[in-house]
């Protein structure tokens, strides 16, 4: 399992937290997209993608984040990223994607910000 999705039934905000365990790359990025689309279909709108357990992300991983972010925005929802280590944060900065995403240091910080 590369992605684990948690959604706390007692959370009044109804945030869907997806944790990326391992790599977010060309071979598994579509799984992430499906998880988000399923949750959107189920009426969810607040998403946290947690990279605390992530090794690396390739350009197609970054690409899927761009496209799910767009889907979420179109559905009137909100996406936050959290738990990026120094290397991962560098990828967002190099590609200027840090300007496109809401990036929090920790998952908790992101949850509080919704």
């Amino acid at each position: 399992m590369t992605f684990s999705v948690r959604s706390d039934p007692n959370d009044p905000k109804g945030v869907v937290a997806i944790s990326v365990d391992g790599q977010l790359v060309v071979s598994n990025r579509n799984q992430l997209k499906e998880k988000v689309l399923e949750a959107l279909d189920a009426g969810k709108s607040k998403f946290l993608i947690d990279f605390t357990q992530t090794g690396y992300i390739d350009s197609s991983g970054l690409g899927v984040l761009v496209s799910v972010s767009k889907k979420i925005r179109e559905a009137g929802g909100e996406l936050r990223l959290a738990g990026l280590n120094e290397d991962l944060r560098m990828l967002f900065e190099l590609t200027k994607l840090d300007t496109l995403f809401n990036i929090s240091d920790s998952p908790d910080e992101a949850l509080n910000a919704f």
Binding site: S27, G55, Y56, I57, D58, S59, S60, L91, L100
Partner: protein, 143 residues
């Protein structure tokens, strides 16, 4: 990088990879382990080399070989005291890397693709292609 044996004191690794995206991660892991076996610093191997090689492999498989299972991708690595050179060859027609637009331009930054070569250039110290454009060589300085 075409001689079968590298200069003294350096190590050469060659791996042939099938044209399937599913094997990219495994191939990257394998090459990374060999780089560690050569004594490369775990940090540089862990991230920059892995991401750059993932990009080059994915491009070789998808654009170069059109995901044709009959076609192969060859990875050649030479590690010496100063640098790691990673060359990825596909069987495709090649392309003109100078024609690839900058993905950080305001008009492109929210596109879902087009960041592969850009990332490679940012993450390694030197990138070169053969004339045809079906062979990319990425150089990382050690230390």
């Amino acid at each position: 990088m075409t001689a079968a044996i590298p200069p003294e004191g350096s190590v050469r690794i060659a791996v042939r990879v099938p044209s399937e995206l599913d094997v990219v991660e495994e191939a990257v892991d394998l090459v990374a382990r060999h780089c560690l076996a050569c004594g490369l610093a775990p940090d540089a191997v862990r991230f920059n080399l892995r991401v750059a090689l993932s990009e080059a492999l994915a491009n070789a498989i998808v654009y170069g070989n059109g995901s044709d299972p009959q076609k192969r991708v060859d990875v050649r690595v030479v590690v010496d005291d100063e640098v790691v050179e990673v060359q990825v060859d596909d069987e495709g027609e090649g392309f003109d890397p100078s024609s690839v637009p900058d993905p950080t331009l305001p008009a492109r930054v929210d596109l879902p693709s087009g960041r592969g070569l850009f990332l490679i250039r940012q993450l390694v110290d030197k990138v070169s292609f053969n004339d045809r454009g079906n062979s990319i060589c990425m150089t990382l300085r050690r230390a």
